[in-house]
Symmetry: C2
Subunit: 153 residues, 2 copies
DNA sequence: CAAAAAAGTTAGGGATGACTTATATTATGC
DNA sequence: GCATAATATAAGTCATCCCTAACTTTTTTG
């Protein structure tokens, strides 16, 4: 609503950078370019480039050698990505019983192209199913047994 | 197993081309470059480029002005992509009750990065849930009511 | 507080991928 | 055999992403 000019669309990789900015802020109160470089395994100069791009699109406040922070818009978007990420990871791991590492990895790939609406429904499905269980343990045994049976057939 | 050299990995877009080749073959017995160009809304010359790439990687038989056909490997891979696509579409549409068009569109994006294992579990979840319903109609009303309630809260 | 270390930036490249238009080439139906 | 429809090639655009190397700024610390 606020911005009409659409040069502020984010590529998957820029979304990763933005997500990383928020994640680091959450876990240690402040971000340094180096944290992001380490976390994403890229060079420091790649981080500079990404931060410049994010700033140009209005998602972060950025000036050379200065503190990095999210704009309101940036916080909104980063938050959305992060919560997609978490919702997906949870769904894959707890509902589909995928091993944590693969669940994470898959969530990372999906989070960029999965529409909000689908995530919402996924979350809804999760709680719908879990509501009818005593606990997640119950679901786990029930569903993994079913899967095993299916595999045989 | 058969090939050790990994220059035969496919980008998302090459997967789309390969999938299109199979889809067209299925629906009209033979493929022409033009069919693919129309279906994917790209120029003929983009199609030529993609077909060359697919041939170089061993997924199709291709020689200038000759008939296009899938290699065994190509058929296997294209089939896998197509069935991922179908499984995802079905899951989104029938299980999550996403409108058909969005379901399709989302499946298109996901099919390239969703691991087999996750698709399998998704399919399993689908049948697990459907098994405990009289029909898909029952699920539809049950789940959409639940979603509505969730939205309010 | 000055010098060394660490962090950040800039400049300059290079690879890839996915398209395009414009110009040839081939195939085939009449 | 020739026109035309289908294909192919050439050459180039554009965007994304990343890197190294050299430089500047900031921070740390003896």
């Amino acid at each position: 609503m606020s911005e009409h000019f659409d040069d502020n669309k984010l590529s998957a990789s820029l979304e990763d950078y933005l997500e990383a900015v928020l994640a680091v802020i959450i876990e240690k109160k402040a971000v340094r370019a180096k944290d992001i470089a380490d976390r994403l395994s890229v060079s420091r100069s790649s981080v500079t480039g990404a931060l410049q791009a994010l700033a140009a699109k209005g998602y972060i406040h950025y000036a050379p050698y200065d503190v990095i922070s999210l704009t309101d818009e940036g916080e909104k978007v980063a938050g959305a990505i992060l919560s997609k990420h978490n919702a997906l990871t949870k769904f894959f791991a707890e509902m589909l019983l995928i091993e944590p590492e693969l669940a994470e990895e898959t969530a990372c790939k999906m989070e960029h192209s999965m529409p909000e609406e689908v995530i919402e429904r996924l979350t809804c499905l999760y709680s719908f199913v879990m509501d009818s269980q005593k606990d997640t343990k119950e679901w786990s045994t029930k569903f993994s047994n079913y899967c095993k049976k299916q595999k045989k057939a």
